[in-house]
């Protein structure tokens, strides 16, 4: 049994040594001995996974052009949404979209202003609280958003007295909700560059602290900060729980509202926001690979 296998495998290896070496990181199936599945298995797994994601999206797209009870294919729902055929029915959507965009902007600004300086400071000077900071930043992941709202409701009655009850005040809650993601993204970048060495070099060359942070450290953290901002925007645009329980309007609560009146329109918007999220994701990946290439 053992000898038979040994006899069988060397020819396969001998015929393919260059490709084996070239693809050793990808563990290609032509390596003979490898964990990679056979091409047939590849096709089946890829097709299965692809269908798993493609069928719901395709169904979503097909639903947006369905002609209601009369059946048939129609572009009328798209015309309703973009041609102003909805009248006042589109008001919640435009409101929600505006609020969500404003919210993601404020969230990113507050998050960057609070988190990045704190993380740089802890990284440079206070190694002991680093664990505490990490724990505090990751805690919102484990607390369900509904449970968070129960605590936030009394807080927001005070916030409403101070800042008014505009939708943008939700950004204070969203900074907490997005903190684990933005922390992870920034931290990954922070440990990858030698922040302490950079700061010492800048200081020894006579730069002030402000110049050190602004001109030396921040440009090196650009990729992490960008990733943190992107992921925060994505989380804020998809947030429903807090906004709905605190009775504010954002994109998601508007979608639920509109879907009770006209499910076609809400599905069109969902399809468009899915595509937007996909584009954001690809943009994020592009930015990540580009800066990695320029560094090496």
């Amino acid at each position: 049994m053992v000898t038979a296998t040994l006899d069988a495998s060397p020819p396969a290896q001998a015929s393919e040594p260059p490709s084996l070496r070239r693809h050793s990181m990808r563990r290609d199936s032509d390596a003979g001995v490898s964990i990679a599945p056979s091409p047939a298995t590849w096709v089946v797994v890829l097709a299965g996974a692809g269908l798993f994601f493609a069928v719901p999206v395709f169904a979503l797209g097909a639903f947006t052009v369905r002609g209601g009870q009369s059946g048939g294919v129609t572009l009328g729902h798209w015309r309703d949404l973009f041609g102003g055929g909805l009248g006042a029915g589109a008001k919640p959507l435009t409101d929600g979209l505006q609020n969500s965009l404003l919210l993601s902007f404020v969230t990113v600004i507050v998050m960057l202003a609070l988190l990045v300086p704190a993380m740089i400071l802890v990284r440079l000077h206070l190694p002991r609280p680093e664990k505490v900071l990490e724990f505090m930043c990751l805690i919102p992941l484990t607390i369900p958003a509904v449970a968070l709202v129960v605590g936030l409701a009394p807080v927001f009655s005070v916030v409403a007295k101070v800042f008014g009850s505009g939708s943008w005040t939700l950004a204070f809650a969203y900074v907490i909700v997005t903190r684990p993601y933005s922390y992870r993204a920034t931290q990954a970048n922070l440990v990858a560059v030698y922040v302490a060495t950079l700061a010492e070099a800048a200081r020894s060359l006579g730069a002030s602290w402000v110049a050190t942070i602004w001109d030396v450290i921040l440009p090196n953290l650009r990729r992490g900060i960008l990733a943190a901002s992107f992921i925060s925007v994505a989380v804020v645009l998809g947030e429903y729980t807090i906004a709905s329980l605190l009775s504010r309007t954002n994109l998601q609560t508007a979608l639920v509202l509109v879907s009770k009146r006209d499910p076609y329109v809400s599905n069109i918007v969902v399809l468009l926001s899915l595509l937007l999220a996909l584009a954001l994701l690809f943009g994020l990946g592009r930015v990540g690979t580009q800066s990695r290439r320029s560094r090496s």
Binding site: V33, I35, A147, V150, T241
Partner: protein, 122 residues
Amino acid sequence: MVIVLLPALEALRPQWAEANATLGGTPATFWLRVGLPVLAPSLIGSLPLLFANAFSAYATAAALTSQGSQIVSLQIRTALSSETVLGHENLAGALALGMILTMVVVMSMYSVVEGRASRWRW
């Protein structure tokens, strides 16, 4: 689940497959004797995470149902914002505390299993 499993899959070393092959194993023995046992802690560890995710879900249930409160998160919604049953904010607080305690238990289970799983990482 994918995010938890990806690092574990990355940690499967090609050398193990080669060792398995030189010792006369088939791909089936590789997966049964090496691959799955190494992945087992990560697979088991993803179960508490899936539980936590499902347990704290709110948005889908809230959007799909307009009547009744079948799950804890919807019960909290009712206690917070019902128009017919007033003065139940304390109930919402108690339910939320229960959720947080459940999450603490689940997440400590996860960190125990995760400690075992990280043994095979690079």
